[in-house]
Symmetry: C2
Subunit: 693 residues, 2 copies
């Protein structure tokens, strides 16, 4: 019997055995879809996903044809079963992905096909591969030398399962503060690794709890009793045959997390663990045969900065992973919003939730943000290889700095968008959305790791602001600005005060150039305000760190946010142009999405615009145009999500599948449980209470 | 051996057996606390908790002395064990609470002592009691007659476990749309209850899955083939002895939810279930011995409105429950923020996270909102009994309408505050905050039910706006406004445009009267803008429903939000005054909290103020004062939370306990797990993959 037949039979069985009244076929979603035509599905898919489009399709099809990929089955798994399943899943698809070390060296897109498709299924699956390929692999690739290449190759062949031991119990964001020590012993030309304190224990290391046999360890290198700063060592942590921890290493599992429990995050304790000299990834620093430390980068801080910038791919995938989460959440919430009917007109017909302003206003702006993030991610990957190449020659090059600033703000802003989006998707699905079989709680909980890992959002905003302010200071010194995304810089606050936005109705407002100009205005506004704040704080605080730290909120953070919005918008309009060239109506739909993204961003910062640039009438026009655009997009939003959303099998959501049969699926899901109609074993306790008085 | 000794011994054991380096005693939190003095703990506790203060203490002590209340033990429970445990917990404390039907009739505070303390432990525990006492009990009390009283009494004695069957698969917010049918059969003077469609199945009914034996059923009453609208029936759903569903009823469990899995939400399917006439709660409507329907309220809609307004206590407890969640989240996040150190000054000393502007700015405003909600809840309960008494005489009285408006906006706004607060608390605790043993993920997930149940937030904002706009129309007709919280109403937009806020520095800004005036301004601003929007939409749409529905976002919703903020602030200043009277320094601390609440609310709406009332310099002053207040409060915030926060045993958070030994507790928690150092059973699979190529 084929799988399809099997499924049909089990559906039939559940109908026959169901205690529920028969469920009528629900044509609500199908009818909602009919409102829109003229959308070129293939075009939208291929432009939206760009270079990953074909591979994504291929990987989706590999996964959906494998019964291991059944989200509903995962709801009841124990912690251990969850971890086992992810290993099974990787085993089932990794070798079909075509990814190799050599391939990944040439272009990042093959890896992205694998990551994008698996993230659509579950972030833990992607992360499990990411820690070994991307974090462990990239660290070796960036800072190892010839002799280390085979380690990266082994990781890409899954002969080793790698990990990255950076964070400790006591230090997360502050990597220069890690306490683990690697003392060089010249007599044996080994390093002796130790966890001198409880807070120095390597902590929350992905993949280490149960699976990893190799790790890239961040530890302070001590040579001749001198602390040479944090370096990275590729070390074996478990025996290849017995899987026992290597001598001098204790490995444990940190246990249950809010989500991502498929990943076995663990901890590592080192007690005089000896590793050979070649463990040191010695591209930047090495120890001579005479036992002398030498490094091509003199400053400890710079050296660590370079090392960390070598593993930025992880951070890029966080931006991409957030886009996937928003897309999953919206796929469920928009379909449910279309099929779910409540209240309605006086004639008794009920309206789709998605027809209510208060409902679509909560969802449609997230669709715009999803497109904005996607345009931003594409920009990041398009620049990645060339920046990487330049940085390998000159690790302190301007391009890497600018890239770092851009990635930092994108990571923070996109993940903030993501968290808000998933919460709204959850709430928009009401009580059904609170059920585990809606998947929304879990997707929100998975998304919840993104603001924290790969650089805490607050730190990254700061770092982005720092780079931009340095560039501004450069301009103050009479230099030209090199950053292509900051060409509009204007440090004359009087100019800004004199700027009046030139629009007087919806038509004149919906002009891409004007809208981008308004986003440029915001960047300039916050740069100017920040200089005022820094000046004021310089008199309030004596310590430069205090001046800096106390100019973050409302100032430096806002520069980073505004800068990110500018980049998102200027990339998104490029996607619109590409679509428009091939299909006007598809281009127009996405143009509205672009408009909404910018108008909504302006609306959320209206106060700064009303100070100088806009009058109250224009402010009202911004608010009303935002509503207009949401309304204009709600009907087409379901079709868009049909084109871009993951396959049903990846959603694990009875209320969000493409056929719109939410109620019937909800019922059959609930009735499938063994305990649905059973009496509790603790009934005697209940009876005792009731008979007590 | 005493419990304390037991605990000490197990601590000692875990130290001896631990694989970790010894953890030094961490004095960070203790040192942080020393920054503040002059806070009168007892006074703050008693004024903050008001009439519930003593009872809360008593209930906390009953619970903490019982080993059943151990949050960490709950992390590993199965769905079924979780439900069993809650029943055990109720059995252990309910009869000690002193709550009786008669007591609860006199004053709501005894019930609140029970609810507040249990919510501090876990919302599911409170909810489990709430569905039978408050939802089932209040429905009977409000719409039953003499003969039904014994049912409520039985519920309060836990002789019956009640529930409220209102929502159906197909209808949640739209109660008038429920499909369940109760057809009157005059021949037997019975009702025949049926679930005519799959969507009519009663759904997500709390307590029904495994425990309830009684329910208050909402169904359309059919008499003589005429649909008389939705009525309520108190019916027996399970046999008292066998616990089997009664004939004609199928009962099932809906299974796993995102949180609150201690509550057995279930479903009910009716198939020609016959119940006696006396099941009908017949205070408003009845059927004569001749079989004729009669009702004291003619309109179906009004009748249902009255019925639903009879069970508003549930909604009030949502506001209170949200305050508890924020308090729990902040207790953990503020303590952790004080003890967690990262980065720092050039001299090498690390700073507490809570000393960083970007960190405290994310937490301290939530403390202000927590106080605001608490002041609001106290106002709700203070008015409750008198409004209830008036409504029982005249169910359509003005006071009930106003109360309903106030409660509706408070429920929406407080739960929005709560969701945002818990997300920030989670993120503020970084990676440790993502561990299940931090408790933050679970508290956030529990909070997540509040925006949805007891009236969806979007609907409630609308209802509040409706009541206010009706009152405004009343004024247009030349009447005086009765609502004590709307006495400042000004429908002359020209007045508003002419208003200029009279402050020019921080000192003149921090004036309670001026700040409240600014909140009044906001209410008036949105009322005026809404009338403009309604007028515009009246030309854009022909259908009155469309006009209304399309004036929600930016308009009607904002009236409700602004109105709520006004009430919160005007109640919070009363709390400040009460404190100030008895202790100036405590009063001053909470006055800063009041200032922050209002200033932050103004800052978030700055755009509307800058349109007419404030100039750019004043806008900057608002932003900078907001930062100043957060900074002024960060040091004292930990002491405040020490006074108001729940006992350690209720938090279930290794990183948030009062002794500040986060790292040592984290380690001993993780090492307690059986699987911490074990190899996975699926090791062969892993080895197979690694040896594959």
């Amino acid at each position: 019997m084929s799988m399809k037949e099997n499924r049909r039979l089990s559906l039939l069985n559940s109908h026959l055995l169901s205690q529920f009244p028969q469920v009528a076929y629900d044509d609500s979603l199908a009818n909602f879809r009919k409102r829109t035509e003229n959308l070129n599905s293939d075009l939208l898919f291929s432009i939206y996903f760009g270079k990953v489009a074909d591979g994504l399709k291929r990987m989706r099809s590999i996964m959906t044809s494998n019964p291991l990929f059944d989200k509903f089955k995962e709801l009841d798994l124990s912690l251990d079963q969850r971890r086992e399943r992810i290993v099974q899943q990787i085993s089932a698809i990794y070798f079909q992905s075509g990814l190799t070390y050599q391939e990944d060296f040439k272009s990042p897109y093959k890896l992205l096909e694998l990551f994008w498709s698996t993230a659509e299924y579950e972030l833990a699956l992607t992360t499990k591969m990411s820690v070994t390929l991307l974090l462990y692999g990239d660290t070796i690739r960036s800072f190892g030398t010839e002799k280390h290449i085979q380690l990266a190759e082994r990781a890409y062949a899954l002969k080793d399962i790698g990990s990255i031991s950076m964070t400790e119990i006591g230090h997360g964001s502050n990597v220069p503060g890690v306490e683990t020590i690697a003392t060089y012993d010249h007599s044996t030309r080994e390093f002796i690794i130790n966890s001198p304190t409880a807070t120095s224990v390597k902590w929350l290391v992905g993949g280490v709890g149960k699976t990893s046999n190799m790790t890239a360890l961040f530890a302070r290198l001590i040579v001749d009793n001198i602390d040479r700063g944090v370096h990275v060592f590729a070390i074996k942590i478990r025996d290849s045959v017995t899987h026992d921890p290597m001598p001098g290493i204790i490995i444990g599992d940190v246990g249950l997390k809010t989500a991502l429990n498929g990943i076995d995050n663990g901890f590592l304790i080192f007690k005089n663990c000896r590793v050979p000299y070649d463990s040191l990834l010695d591209k930047l620093s090495s120890i001579t045969p005479e036992g002398k430390f030498k490094s091509s980068v003199k400053s400890k801080e710079k050296r660590l900065g370079i090392i960390i910038s070598g593993i930025i791919r992880g951070r890029i995938t966080v931006v991409g992973g957030t886009e996937v989460h928003i897309r999953k959440g919206l796929t469920i919430a928009l379909r449910y919003g279309a099929l779910r009917k409540q209240f309605g007109k006086k004639d008794g017909t009920e309206s789709s939730l998605l027809d209510y302003q208060s409902h679509y206003f909560r969802l449609i702006p997230h669709l715009a943000k999803m497109f904005a993030i996607q345009a931003g991610v594409e920009y990041l990957w398009a620049l990645y290889s060339s920046v990487k190449a330049k940085a390998s020659v000159d690790p302190e090059c301007n391009e890497l700095n600018e890239y770092h600033a851009m990635l930092s703000c994108m990571k923070s802003i996109s993940t903030m968008y993501g968290t808000a989006a998933l919460q709204d998707c959850r709430e928009a699905c009401g009580g059904h959305g609170f059920l585990a079989c809606s998947a929304l709680g879990n997707i929100r909980n998975e998304q919840d790791c993104h603001p924290t890992w790969e650089g805490d959002n607050m730190i990254l905003l700061q770092q982005c602001g720092k780079v931009i302010l340095k560039q501004v200071q450069h301009v103050f010194k009479g230099n030209k600005i090199t950053n292509p995304d900051l060409q509009y810089l204007d440090v004359d606050f009087e100019h800004l005060k004199a700027y009046k936005a030139a629009f007087h109705d919806r038509e004149t407002l919906l002009n891409p150039r004007l809208l981008i100009e308004l986003l440029e205005y915001k960047v300039n506004y916050y740069i100017n305000q920040t200089f005022i704040a820094l000046r004021e704080n310089s008199t309030a605080y004596t310590d430069a760190t205090d001046v800096w730290n106390n100019s973050q909120v409302h100032y430096i953070q806002e520069i980073a946010k505004a800068y990110c919005e500018y980049i998102f918008a200027s990339q998104l309009i490029k996607m619109v142009d590409k679509l428009y060239e091939k299909c006007q109506s598809t281009g127009n739909a996405v143009k509205n999405i672009f408009y909404l993204y910018v108008v909504e961003r302006i609306e959320k910062s209206l106060s700064i615009y009303v100070e100088y640039a806009l009058n109250p009438g224009q402010a009202k026009l911004i608010r009303d145009t935002e509503l207009y655009l949401c309304q204009a997009l709600k009907d087409i939003s379901v079709r868009i999500i049909d084109i871009l959303g993951p396959p049903d099998a990846f959603l694990g959501s009875v209320i969000g599948e493409s056929d719109g049969q939410a109620y019937s699926k909800l019922i059959s899901h609930v009735e499938k449980s063994e305990d649905v109609y059973s009496k509790p074993a603790w009934l005697p306790l209940l009876q005792q209470i009731k008979q007590r008085a």
